[in-house]
Symmetry: C2
Subunit: 430 residues, 2 copies
């Protein structure tokens, strides 16, 4: 196998695997610095995960929440993008194996994030729709619209229910946000687009395994999220686990079933594996065990940051929450340490600073937990909106795009309810 | 087989097959009128074909040039959308057969348009990329970007050429517009996004069968289009026919070959067939022969408009040009005749009014033929831009979207260079 085409610049080569919040933040902080930075991702874009559900609901275009790496790094000649997957790591040779060839590294940073956890259920893995990529969100959008079209011409009530009803599994932020926006779609958009459908036939079910929603958040947030969802007409089932799905029918552990062709799976994540790491590096839930300097246990010059990293801190004996803010804080600390190391300065221990967490339920209701107090409702939603806008702006930094985004987000009527799939030749055209 | 689910409103049912320029214009003119209008299309959106190439070049989002039917007809309860294909027509029973069921009609309007003509070459039909749908344009966008990524890590010059070079077959408006915008992409965008690529290695070839480009236009327009393309560095080959393509190599009838993995096919169209029409209805080039009232020869209450219709007029003994303006004029005349017929008034004979034609070559050069005079260059391009903007506005009618569109169109830096495909579950997520 040949080496991947990369110039030898004489600078230490830092290879970052994964361009999510952690990998992107690290690459940005090392851009223009005396390193050769190689960012490897299987897509040519960064995905702004908190808003995937908006793409699925046809509320935003994919291009509003994904950002091409090449454009982000246009002005930095020391950053090299390679769109490929990593097959394995050979730590003894300090190199990665990819379909495009071998990549040598001086420093390796693993930022592969987390992937959907189906808890070993192969059928669910095959048929349920996860929400971990914009491609999946687009698939869900197409499936929802396709099924409404089919429901229109389906005379059988039972069968029609399968087309119309949607089951969301998992009551974390993603599940709650999807349920809330589906409920609003049902209320505000569908009656206009599908006057022939009886909107009251559409049921949105949210199934949560534990006794409350948003388990990582405060009690007040959990209670209020439940109340908001009920206001919006979502059927919430707590203490219930989905055990089976055959593409038509969802079965739960309490023996009940629901008829639905679309099951959205937001029930949990597990570390995205990367073959070639030693046993010592293996942490809980598929994560990679790192020390307080992000260094992978038992390896030299190999680091892990973001959702994949498992670091025990005094205040977080079970590791940090798998959130964008943890990923970005870790990236910032690692970037600074890499520069300090180069300058011969002492390294800094990572310390996570919890800035709070939030979730939105539809467009005018949110729950916000700050370290010292909590609040819910319309003002919380405004805060949610502002925080996400500024995050997007942080990536994109374009005022016009910003206003465009606000407009798209605030107006329901997005004209995005399009079922479009790229089509290869050798099909009949249309 | 059961009937498709459609209410009996007591009004005569006009079924329109195809929501292109002709079908959409007709449906809009009959919206709110005393008919039940059923619009059948295989997509849930109207496609603004003149700008497909902009989607392919990552200059515009699909959502900027496609418009969901349901949104367009939200305010008209007499218009029913059915997203399906027509398998066949049974004129003796006045009904259509579709996968969703049988559709009875009182009046049938065929507006199925034209599809890509590969002139019987099965290999080209399989491997070349047509530009007759936004799905194909998206496919081409993904293919171009994928191939640039591959070229980056391809050390072999010959093989790299295959990834970089693009062959466009057909020198009509689509071919010329694609070639022009690819040339601009090469000049302005690629050096910024792919500083590692040697842009001069990229060759864009336009192959035209006849001795001039834009054969339907004036001699001045043809000459100037050729000059503009040469200015932009496009290799134009006239009097040459592509005879073979194996996915890697394009062969021409002069014995020469070109290495390219992407062949864009814009060499001609043929009527999109619809089984069940009698022999008498068959016109040249797969089109349907109609009288001066758009009525299909030999059939009652069956009409054809748009690219599929073949009507001989004194001034157009070989039928009208297959252009949006002909389609929309025919739709307007048929709509008015259907209303006149209902009111017992005499029908009006169709008469095509040529408003001129135009093509753009890149962003600052165009050629315009008006009935009485021709002009080319920057002012022509401004006219081209305004005409298309107003056409889009005619469909969409939203001021903000309009400015958004202008902005997207005028700024090169669109952040749309994304390789996104909807992804079904049962894939590893990313």
């Amino acid at each position: 196998m040949t080496k991947i085409n990369l110039p030898e610049t004489g600078q230490p080569r830092i290879v970052i695997v994964g361009g999510g919040f952690a990998g992107l933040a690290l690459a940005r902080q090392l851009a223009g610095k005396p390193f050769q930075v190689v960012l490897i991702d299987r897509n040519n874009y960064h995905q702004f995960q908190p808003l995937f559900y908006q793409v699925a609901m046809a509320g935003l275009e994919p291009s509003s929440i994904v950002f091409p790496f090449r454009k982000l790094f246009q002005d930095y000649s020391n950053v090299y993008i390679r769109v490929t997957e990593v097959a394995s790591i050979e730590t003894e040779n300090r190199r990665l194996i990819t379909p495009l060839g071998i990549v040598n590294y001086d420093v390796l940073v693993i930022a592969t994030g987390a992937e959907t956890n189906f808890f070993g259920n192969a059928k669910l893995a095959q048929l349920a729709i996860p929400m971990k990529s914009v491609s999946e969100a687009l698939y869900l959008r197409n499936a929802i619209l396709d099924d409404y079209e089919k429901a229109l011409t389906c005379p059988d009530v039972e069968e029609r229910q399968g087309y119309l009803d949607i089951v969301i599994v998992g009551g974390g932020p993603t599940g709650v946000e999807v349920a809330g926006s589906l409920a609003e779609m049902k209320q505000y958009i569908l009656p206009k687009d599908y006057p022939e459908l009886n909107v009251s036939e559409i049921d949105i079910h949210l199934i949560q395994g534990s006794g409350e929603l948003l388990t990582g958040m405060s009690n007040a947030a959990s209670q209020k999220a439940l109340a908001f969802l009920k206001e919006l007409g979502v059927h919430v089932k707590l203490n219930t686990i989905v055990v089976d799905f055959d593409g038509e029918k969802v079965s739960m552990n309490d023996g009940t079933t629901l008829r639905a062709r679309k099951v959205i799976w937001a029930a949990g994540v597990t570390g995205a594996p990367l073959p070639g790491l030693p046993e010592t590096a293996r942490g809980p839930a598929g994560r990679i065990r790192v020390d307080r300097f992000h260094k992978v246990d038992g390896l030299d010059e190999v680091y892990a940051i973001g959702d994949i990293a498992y670091m025990e801190e005094e205040a977080y004996p079970k590791g940090h929450p798998q959130l964008a803010q943890a990923a970005m804080q870790q990236a910032a600390n690692l970037a600074s340490n890499l520069l300090r190391q180069k300058a011969g300065k002492p390294l800094r221990t990572f310390k996570y600073r919890n800035l709070g967490s939030m979730a939105t339920i539809g467009r005018h209701r949110a729950v916000v937990d700050l370290p010292r107090f909590q609040f819910q409702g319309a003002f919380a939603w405004l805060i949610w909106l502002l925080v996400h806008l500024f995050q997007i702006l942080g990536v994109k930094n374009k005022v016009f795009v910003f206003f465009n985004w606000v407009w798209n987000y605030l107006t329901y009527d997005q004209s995005l309810r399009l079922i479009i799939r790229p089509r290869a030749p050798s099909h009949k055209n249309n």
